[in-house]
């Protein structure tokens, strides 16, 4: 059963040094506040996992929390590059393991399903298997077709943001829900930050519900997705994403941002 607690306590419980951890979110509902708390608590040696590492991951990488990144697309959506991520890869200070989106999504699905691997058609001709040895061929036992296998993406911890939880810790999110359900189900420990804690979850079109018994910690963090957004609560702060480009590009501007975060 999920325990409702403060963000600081929840992060301390759920995200540990050396964890393989995903802060998932597909543009929408990105758990920025929880990620910032991880920076404040100076977590180290994390293997960060995400399909679309974006500004939050640029921040975590720049702050020195990450040893390794497992991902499929790392950029500032609609703006350009992530300069802390780019610098860390170019300097060789960040190990990377990369896939296509389809492969990453299916790695989560396999882990959520309790399977050791997933099968997909894959993409003939791509150089990805030459740099990511865990993209392997697999032969269909019925047709003899050669397809692609990827290993399950099991997580130590998963952090997501949602619109609502009830007092029992059942969680509800809607809009673009991405791979958040899969990430939580793939993790040994999970934390959900929410816009609102309500008496009762009312059914919503398109809602995904995570029952309390698959969630470890819930923290009430209104605005916890900013500069990302929470459908029904906030809109995406596109200006911040644009402004991040300059902060991220310049190491000293980034250090200033980081000092402000720690203050």
């Amino acid at each position: 059963m999920a325990v409702i607690t403060s963000l600081a306590e929840a992060v301390a419980e759920v995200v540990r040094d050396g964890d393989t951890v995903a802060f998932e979110g597909f543009t929408h509902l990105i758990p920025f506040a929880a990620g910032h708390e991880v920076i404040r608590q100076r977590r180290r040696e994390l293997t960060l996992v995400r399909m679309t590492p974006d500004v939050l991951y640029d921040q975590l990488i720049g702050a020195g929390c990450a040893r390794r990144l497992v991902f499929s697309w790392g950029g500032n959506p609609g703006v350009g590059s992530l300069h802390r991520f780019r610098a860390a890869v170019q300097d060789g200070t960040l190990e990377i393991e990369e896939y296509s989106h389809a492969a990453m999504a299916n790695r989560y699905v396999a882990a959520a399903s309790g399977l050791p691997f997933a099968v997909l058609r894959g993409a003939p001709g791509t150089d990805l298997p030459s740099v990511t040895p865990s993209i392997r061929p697999i032969t269909c036992p019925f047709t003899g077709e050669v397809l692609t296998a990827v290993p399950a993406l099991r997580l130590d911890s998963a952090v997501v943001h949602a619109q609502r939880a009830d007092r029992a810790g059942n969680v509800q999110l809607w809009g673009i829900t991405g791979v958040q359900k899969e990430a939580v189900l793939a993790a040994a420990r999970s934390l959900v930050t929410v816009e609102e804690v309500v008496e009762e979850l009312m059914p919503m079109p398109g809602a995904v519900v995570l029952p309390s018994w698959v969630v470890d910690r819930v923290a009430h963090v209104p605005g916890g997705a900013h500069p990302s957004y929470a459908d029904g609560y906030s809109v995406r702060d596109n200006d911040f994403y644009q402004r991040w480009d300059a902060i991220s590009r310049d190491r000293s501007a980034f250090e200033g941002w980081l000092r402000d975060l720690h203050r």
Binding site: G75, P77, Q90, H101, A123, I176, R236
Partner: protein, 228 residues
């Protein structure tokens, strides 16, 4: 009416989309072109975004593939695994619309790295949905600005073996010949074949029936500019 090279490129890309087609759309110029098509000659165009939105009908252009407008105007919003497994992978999508950081003469795409993978000169965002968009859609159209930096003779990394039906640039249109090599088949108004050759990192083949792209109509430009 004056227009920019990017506007010409976007209009040319939009025209390739038939009404009723199902189109898997990346962000940026592909999304602009697809939405332009939907507002002009192809009102029944079905837009699919990898964030899980099927049949989105945004009234303004999204900045990202996960903007709220894409979800709230969609016929259905599904999970990210589902969009790849149930909708893209089985070949239900007619057209995949892709961009590129580098492109070779066969239309292979690099969005991963400039320089060696293990010692990158420039690390790019990576594959995203592109490898499977390239391999699973019935046809692929690449929309990309043409330059020596982009149109290279040998990729540093093949992210997606796109084999596009068409590459639409700010200079013209390229289509594969029987061997799969891209051939210049149309030039946008005011562009010469030499301009295109000068922006191409390999000896660019030119079609004997090279045509000139129709310039953007006033209606096309008006809709395009209203989308911003």
């Amino acid at each position: 009416m004056t227009y920019t090279a990017d506007e010409m490129m976007t209009v040319a890309a939009a025209r390739t989309l038939a009404d009723g087609a199902v189109c898997f759309v990346g962000i940026g110029i592909p999304s602009t072109a697809a939405n332009l098509a939907r507002r002009t000659h192809a009102p029944g165009l079905v837009l699919i975004y990898e964030s899980g939105c099927i049949g989105s009908k945004p009234s303004t252009l999204p900045l990202s593939i996960g903007d709220g407008e894409l979800a709230s105007t969609a016929d259905a919003v599904v999970s990210v695994p589902e969009i790849f497994n149930y909708w893209l992978q089985p070949g239900r999508v007619d057209v995949g619309f892709l961009g590129a950081a580098q492109l070779d003469r066969r239309g292979n795409i690099n969005t991963t790295v400039i320089g060696p993978y293990s010692a990158p000169k420039v690390r790019l965002p990576g594959a995203g949905g592109a490898p499977e968009i390239a391999s699973c859609c019935r046809s692929v159209i690449v929309v990309v600005r043409q330059s020596l930096k982009t149109f290279v003779d040998g990729l540093d990394f093949v992210t997606s073996a796109a084999a596009p039906r068409m590459v639409i640039t700010d200079l013209g249109v390229l289509e594969p010949d029987d061997t799969g090599e891209l051939v210049l088949t149309s030039l946008h108004p005011g562009v010469s074949a030499d301009d295109a050759r000068a922006a191409t990192g390999w000896p660019l083949a030119v079609s004997p029936s090279l045509s000139v792209t129709s310039p953007p109509s006033a209606a096309e430009l008006a809709v395009l500019r209203s989308l911003r």
